[in-house]
Symmetry: C3
Subunit: 328 residues, 3 copies
């Protein structure tokens, strides 16, 4: 394994070199094929998991991943007092944690940091600054790098080389304004791997301009393409991969009542079998879960022949084990 990844933080895949990502995906595939071969690598090692927000998949895949590698993950419901308003500074918390644990993983959503876009990400980075052990982002308000790694691993398993494949990232309706971390991360990883990416959303749901800049830079380097549209039928036409996700409008970030007025206009943005029939015959339907059934997508799509959602969820386990082995 690459020794230069030891000690590295994973805040976003965008900050990892392409060959570091390739190394991670190679290791993840091997871990998936031969889990027993890695059963003792983390004997006596501990991952400290800080959840400012609850979680099912992320918690289970990290905790069980550490167990399968012979180590242990500490599940902590994190206290919002830790991020500056309470009795302890991030410097002190992070410095002490680094004396006990071998790595720190953090989940922190925008509601914890007062809905100022980028502020949750800043907290993760401040932990990383003070902790002299690797810090892994388990989803902040900007990035969900482990989801992105699981996504590209799943695309490769199902569709082979991503290069030149048509990747549709589609907004969907949801009753609540959800974070942008997953669409941001999906956009960054798909453009990184040379896919022909279509970003589909109604007007008003544009992603962060910094993310868009990175995506365009990725396209230049990878030889893929990126188009943004609000034309649903055109966007689905001939897609190899349909990635559905809801997110809130950045225009009304932290202002849910105004945001809702904009969003409800698009409550018919549900991925259904008719739309899926416009895609390639062997296309795949992806979602990071949890999914609001018959709102974001119909049961027919979720349980249908294109759906790979459970395989995608399973790959979280494998990529995270790989990340942990590379950075610890």
């Amino acid at each position: 394994m690459r020794s230069d990844l030891k000690g590295r933080d994973l805040i976003t895949t965008q900050e990892w070199e392409l060959d570091a990502i390739e190394e991670t995906l190679r290791l993840a595939s091997d871990v998936k094929r031969r889990p027993q071969a890695y059963s003792d690598v983390f004997k006596g090692k501990s991952l400290i998991m800080l959840f400012f927000n609850p979680s099912t998949r992320t918690r289970l895949s990290f905790e069980i991943g550490m167990t399968q590698l012979g180590g242990h993950a500490v599940y902590m419901e994190a206290d919002s007092g830790w991020i500056g308003k309470g009795s302890e500074s991030i410097k002190d918390t992070a410095s002490v944690m680094a004396r006990y644990g071998d790595a720190i993983a953090i989940r922190i959503f925008p509601n914890v940091t007062g809905w100022r876009y980028g502020e949750s990400n800043r907290v993760v980075r401040e932990f990383a600054l003070w902790a002299d052990v690797p810090v892994i982002n388990m989803e902040c308000d900007m990035f969900h790098p482990c989801q992105a790694l699981a996504d590209i691993m799943t695309i490769r398993e199902k569709k082979g080389d991503p290069k030149g494949k048509k990747f549709l990232l589609s907004w969907a309706y949801h009753p609540n304004p959800l974070p942008c971390s997953v669409p941001n991360s999906a956009l960054l990883i798909s453009t990184r791997f040379g896919m022909d990416v279509t970003l589909l959303h109604p007007e008003g749901f544009e992603l962060d301009e910094q993310i868009m800049k990175w995506a365009r830079k990725n396209v230049e380097e990878s030889g893929g393409s990126l188009q943004v549209t609000s034309n649903v039928e055109e966007a689905y036409d001939g897609a190899d991969v349909v990635y559905v996700k809801s997110w809130g409008s950045l225009k009304y970030y932290g202002n849910p009542q105004e945001e809702k007025k904009l969003r409800v206009k698009f409550r018919n943005w549900t991925c259904n079998e008719e739309l899926m029939s416009l895609t390639k015959k062997d296309s795949i339907f992806m979602h990071c879960l949890p999914i609001r059934r018959n709102v974001e997508a119909t049961d027919g799509v979720i349980d249908g022949p294109h759906s790979v959602i459970y395989d995608e969820a399973e790959n979280r386990l494998h990529v995270q084990k790989a990340v942990l082995m590379l950075v610890l």
Copy 2:
């Protein structure tokens, strides 16, 4: 070990064949005698424990049991949103969990499912339907199979062959209407093993008719007997085993104010030393714990010579380790 138990769910002992239960009890005894012999069987394996309701004994015995077998148990406080009202379907939750964990254990009481009798049990069964790993019932609104197994193991240890021994299952007062899972399970396991069973309760506290039917069928097959009475002194007379438990009236299920009016009439239904003096000299006093002291039974009984409550609690550990080894 019987390979045909691999992959089996444990929802109620009633659905396990008698020889599967015998196998479980044999293994439990061996685990109790020689714990070291089983210290590595679950290396790298994880049990996902979903607690919709808090727990002391159940959580500790499962979590420590997995540890003693070399594995790990994930403790999750479950979200009532997972059972249909929230953002994720049981199908999705269970399907994904089965990709990460090697088994799933669930505790869910009637308050979580709106006090519709049998509804909590239905949720456990829906998890079992979608998860292709074993699902273990850690107590629903109908059954507590691990308690039943610990109970029959304790009876055997203390009294030898249960066949023909007099088993008194007595209602007791408690300030709150408790679930019927423990009395249902105690009735089913005692009749299954050919005991002469007396079910003692005040009028209005009849158990579910389906449970009573199963109990009568068990009696026919096992050669034991079953009588139901509200005559306290007669019921205690000559008992080998006194099993005390409070439960709420099914007549007023989910209607605590009306139920309370009925229940308070029987607030003197406390097991005391006078009643215990009517039983056999070497009789045993059992309770699943936690027990409301001097309400369900007096300190004199709980701490007295008949009491086997801590041994009974300990046996939870051993039977659950056996169940896990057989189904995983």
Copy 3:
């Protein structure tokens, strides 16, 4: 290792013989130097941790300590119903836990027991009475023995033999009335090791008279000294060790509004660089953490050259591993 420590409880260092403490510190140093040498000693063993109050350091250091020794720690948020007011007696809870776990560790602050001084300690002792496995005090309202052990270990590492060194234990301001467990424990351990101890606090913040008696007895036996003063400059003069901590006034225990009136008069009691300049050049600044920055001490002190706070926190891990290995 001393076999006579097997099975011992650790409620306060004051009840452990000096040579038992020495043995603990020796083992802690070896564990710190050669952690790998102890990686399998607790295979299959479980520590049950009961937290009536939340915790970062204590939880992480115990949980990760058990993991590093090959065992497991169960994290339980304890229910105040367990201490007599609820459905289960301490006798039943402790007796059952001792059937599952190999040791029990408890944190319980004064707010849980109604702010009657000594009552939280009484609860820990009642658990110890009924549990026939070792009980470790993870901080009650009177003692924090693991902090005391980490403190004296840190002093030895940084200053050599504590005998004759000047130890300043200084009160500091904090917006809330904090428990006396840490100052009590620091006073007891420093006097035990023959240090020249100065206890500095404003009038009204006297420590418990029983603790003071023990401290004076320690001084007699250890050949150190103890003076109490409210003169800040004199107290800092020539100190080798500055130990800063806030605590509430026992005069208004459980009466926060009256207590606040007394405390706010001393809101300028902040340890700063000017005060530190009165101490020896190579003095060390200690605090158990969490610390309210620029209230209890300034950033300049906390992040300055005298500060050993993170080493002190790290030593919690090593001394607790030593304690566990000696008593389990």
